[in-house]
Symmetry: D4
Subunit: 254 residues, 8 copies
């Protein structure tokens, strides 16, 4: 239950459409569900605006399914990242709303999708091989209630490919820029816009790219003001942060 | 001239309070001022919302002063970071509005300060030694038109110091969290809020802190969702990004 | 034969319940058993309080079984770590007391378990994926004569999960804290207790976690006083050290 | 006020030697003293058994003196590490009990020294150049109420130097082993004793010692069971942890 | 004596303007001059097209002067890099043609400058702080017989600064691109031209730039085809290689 | 269409052998072909002298084939690197000119091969295991219109193997030197020639070669003047740069 | 043909047991055999005392067999390292003297073994997992004409295992000491002997052993005088160097 | 007292030229002299063939002088490395035989020099800046009883400088090869000789030489068989090891 949903619940109670018992039960639920192998943070949506996201890697399909079930008791939506086909099989069997986001290696479950914010999050990637990470970012931002526009394969070796998307790039509220190898794209993009740029290094490359380290260092030392960086291949983190930033437009600056 | 200032200029023209010649001259100015040793990007405020910031390190006081003078031809405010006392001496002699932000190692020049946004940017730091970096972030955010609240010395070794500031922490629009050594503070803070958290590793520490690398890696691999990271000791970058994020509240989400 | 068992043997001799020949034979045994490919340190229990632990990785099942047999000639218990299912099959066939500790990837053989100390060793882990390392620590501490309490999935991104275990955490004599990614948990725990905290970095994570290096550096530079660190994924080492510390309670401070 | 001192205070109240007001005032004091640049954790002695230790590096003498004064309002003893001669001058002027531990680069202030535990902490160092780090460990352990024996210059290149101290080494409750270069000493020592060994890598060495990294890695991968490690040059951390371990002998194992 | 000069000598002999003795003496000179502390490679100009360049760092002014004198016995020009003001003082006293290239930290001695090739070598640098390295490259290329055009402060954060120099950039035979921080400029430049691009990382930057490593890795993993890289801050090497490349235009392709 | 081909087209138009419509259509084609997952840079041949090269790794055979088809609409030749046998199968089925360069792990498609330049590019490799990288360089240089001579297994441990190829080595216009392990060969070669030397480190070796890092560092710090370096195993990049350099002989130096 | 064998050939000629033609043919053979993919250094035995050793990794069985055949034309013995079972199969089929040294992962071919030197080379290893590397060293030293004694599993965690082999250790002419993890054994051994100690780090270990880096650094920074080091897992190199050292006893010091 | 000197003493006793008391006193002396801050290993000459060498760095002049005095009670010679001018002043005042080896940064004290072995140790260095390290190696080898020949500035960029010293290089018993930057010289030298080659990387270089790491890695991965390596800048270690190797010629191979 996000805080928006909590507010709605209270208003329904005031309007007499919900009983006091219902409301009490909701808020008295323990903030942790203890599964033995995991302490599910059932309080997270209220505190963070979105329920706990399940990181699939290193968890068995059964464990993932158990945690998912626990969260879906009270939540309308759920994101599970870094999944294998085995996870997908089990989840789709158990949850009818489970959708396999294949390129993004995620499963999304939306019993009731969030309304979308007006402002756009743009997800740019430098090369075709960066697509899975970019897609993880896009899927994350979308399930969290954002409109996303994808711009693919606009690396700096052919500047005109980037420049002919300038209108979109300058219109976006937040930009996620995904790149491997030397990771130069965020610097160039940040020079063109006044909105926050989140740089995502990918492990694409070989030799002295060192599994994404070259791109990571390039992004951290970017000469473009306002660039912030997430971990190598961390599309999820970028999408999550972008959504938090875009959500600031929900606040009306007095 | 920021885009807000450009809009104002055009409105004044429409209202007959500025001549066409004045307007034309402003927009016809070249987007670059060539000083030989530097190509000053006089177009940046229009494009990025804030004039080019001068990175003092590695430039002579005379070079810095020349660039500053060039920018101030058209701009109302200016930030110069990583300065030495020699820079300060020359700048204060030449520019009457020059203010030495000692702890932040910056000079600010504000002929006409920007109006401040309502929403708060909170700058937290883990230890007393992280203060200069935190202050660079705060000064940057302030000159860019934001209200800043500072919370000092709330490292995770004494959690109650952090928790007794919870109200402020949860009220801020954007949080900048500065920490050296193991850099654990952003993870803990990110678990408590739903707003963007910008983590700034500092070079504070010794031995296996490797000049801030331990903190940097800790922040990049943070288990706290929504954390983005800037370069070691890059208080300026954090303040700049935070301001860009906070500026999203200027947009009214339809 | 541990020194406690040696003391008991001598007392039995003094009491006339053992012959001189029996005692002599025990102490005259060579301190090394030479198997060609290995020099089994048969003197270790007397010197270190616990017989040589066999590191299974890189040894064939036959080699492991031979070393185990050699040690069990004189010892009542044995720990074999980092084993494969092939090791397990051979060991369970040969030794009837062999127990497969599956999650911990160990085999334990206890002909006569050690009496347990009163004081508790707490094993905390930050995430579900850290469980195997935590369990290796727990199994090690248990076979060495300690009571262990496990606390799972209490990472710092949801502080309330940790704080609601505070009573147990402050009651333990020694704490083993297992975490991957940024490894922040030991710093927070060390701030809450006055007992020794042993931090165990795990290789859980991706990208800039560099196979546990981020967690390792974070723990080494921890701002929490009294934290000591073992190698990445070294649950065994943590359990062993924790047992040595807890054994200090066997000594009566005058 | 340590918990022992708190217990004594309550007993004095019960015995009528202290007024209720006095007791209340003591416990009602805020757990934080806010100095602006620092949040002094005045609750730490009660929680951790020893008052907050001041890390001098990066703090001005005035800042250190202010924090020290704040702590000494309620505490009987204080440790300040990594100090310069300038710190010493200011502290000795302000606090009459301030003692300069020159080799250890510390200042200690003991209004009323703690009673010493019976069990010994042995501090070994491999070479003469490791002495300052070893001494920092020793001074820390001593002020926290432990007897310390120092063994200097017993590196493994001349094993007889170590072996002729075997009696002491095997008698100690806890061993701190300080070494630079290849850091081999803890492995050898751990093979000879059944008590906890805390390894401290130092930055002594050149070339491929990489400022202590060679020693640190050697200690983390030590084949000696039960070795735990602290940061490079972190004598303080080793002394603190050793004291926490030795304090376990205060508990009587039932 | 370069091979061009050798050819000229032989033609003068054939034309009767030089005696056989003169020619013989020139070619019979030993290919090494042994100064004890140095073996001057007097054969290098013939083999490599330019006399041995003296790396000043780590050599005393007297040593540099001795080597210089030895080379100038037979050569018309000489380059000495990485010099201090002390070197300059001694060299200018001893050699009347010695010119201090202050920004480039070099001394050049040209008794008879080489004729300049028609094709241009362009030296671009990303920021003002990269100037000394760029200038070392330019001075090297010039003394080796090339025309050089310098383009300063055209980093990717303000693309228009670069693009308005496009004509020059596309006209150059060889491009040297100097950049610190994330080192993105060579990738962008390589995308715009069909000529060889030599990337020079500089140690400009802080934190995760690691003294030029970020820029170096970025350049090595550049997505721009045809980029080759030299060592960090190695302006000399870039200028030397650029001259070798430009000299290929001396060959007429049949 | 390379610029040479564009020139020819215009001359044919002037000579009346091509219609205006044909010419217009050619130049009006969009500089990008958008395939969704890729933005094919159809303008590259005109700008860089050779059409976009497809990096096969990380792209599906279908994606590679689609991009290839797109490029071949207007281009006469194409290079696809880092391919698998699956790529080969699909490409050979679809394009009749597709040739599998097995050792080089490339596919080349030449509808009409470029005329070869007179000057030679020499490709040297230090050991037999470096052959695939050397061959990738050679194939790249050949398809771009160069004559290539290969010299294999001339590592510095048997200098006579290298020296007996001295004539060829000194005759080449450009030299590509491929080596793993300590990467010493480029330094030795650069000492023997006056032409550009491109060093290619390979990942051949074990232990402290760290996947080519030892060779890379050795080449970057080479004492041989004029050596430039490409990424580990980047034979393609070396061949491409060598061709760009050799193409300078197409220009007649006035 | 080693130089000893060359001397014998000449003596047989002088004694009339060999024809002049035979001798001439031997010395007139080219110093290189060109196989296209390899330049076999047929001169090496004369120059280095042992024929070229074939490094099997990265070469096909057919390539290895061809090179081997070429060498055996003139040589009596041959060593092939880092082989797979596929190499073994092909080699044993082709060469009847081919012996598979399984543990050492080598094939040796000795048509006529070298006479053995009197002095012993001792090969020590710290743990059972280090055996393959130790055995590679031993096999190499043996085929080069040395007596080898192996001492296994004498790591420093149980010093008595090492000390009870002291007589042998002090009797050896050269010592090869193989160890993974922290690599402390060479330091201890070097403190006990006056003969050369060659340290071989192995990739045995996990976590912070970083594939042998911890051991390598430990050995390079060893406090034991006279320790020299070879690459990680380079048993061959250690055996080769040890043989070169031991061969110095063939020289009679006047 | 070396073992040779011990043998002489015993022979003098047998011959009646020394009293039993004298002999007994010599052998009864403790193997350690405890100076508090140092345990002088007075037994080392007997065990290792040369008395303990004092590493000056990090020790005060007074400490060095005290240790030196202790050693000279029984020894005829002494080496003190890494000294400052302050050390020299104190040592020359106290010991009349103290000689300052300025370039080598050592002090030698030889009351009675050792007789020199016949076989030569060659010390080669690649560049003039490597001289101090080479000289430390040479001085060490000389005081230990060896003849040393120095060959300076023979780096691989001018092979003829090396090749014209071939006779000396092939005549030496042991070769020490000192090089910074890419450290290629040992590989080339090892290809030319059949004697042991000890490679010494130096910290000479800049950028990607990383303080000697590039040279170190190059030497460890050298393709030249028989190369062993010591720590960066460790001239002493190389000289010591070379002397141990050369001393093998003292043994007569039966």
């Amino acid at each position: 239950m996000t805080s928006n949903e909590a507010i709605e619940l209270l208003e329904q109670f005031r309007a007499g459409r919900r009983s006091r018992a219902e409301v009490l039960q909701t808020f008295q639920a323990a903030p942790i569900a203890d599964l033995g192998f995991a302490q599910v943070d059932t309080h997270r949506a209220l505190r963070k605006g979105f329920p706990e996201v399940i990181f699939g890697a290193g968890k068995s399909p059964a464990q993932v399914a158990q945690i998912a079930a626990q969260i879906l008791v009270r939540e309308q939506r759920l994101l599970i990242t870094r999944i294998t086909s085995e996870h997908v099989r089990v989840l789709q069997k158990k949850f009818k709303h489970a959708v396999h986001q294949e390129l993004a290696r995620c499963v999304t479950i939306e019993k009731k999708p969030l309304a979308k914010r007006a402002g756009i999050i743009a997800v740019l990637c430098a090369g075709t091989s960066d697509l899975p990470v970019a897609e993880e970012a896009a899927v994350t931002a979308e399930i969290m209630g954002n409109r996303v526009e994808r711009v693919c394969d606009v690396g700096v070796a052919g500047l005109h490919r980037l420049l002919c998307r300038l209108e979109l790039i300058q219109r976006a509220n937040v930009l996620i820029v995904v790149a491997g190898m030397e990771g130069a794209l965020p610097s160039v993009v940040a020079g063109l816009v006044s909105r926050p740029v989140i740089a995502v290094p990918t492990s694409v490359g070989y030799g002295a790219s060192f599994g994404g380290v070259a791109a990571l260092l390039g992004m951290l030392t970017s000469c473009g003001s306002g660039v912030t960086v997430v971990n190598i291949d961390n599309g999820f983190g970028a999408g999550y942060a972008a959504s938090q930033m875009n959500a600031l437009t929900d606040l009306v600056s007095p």
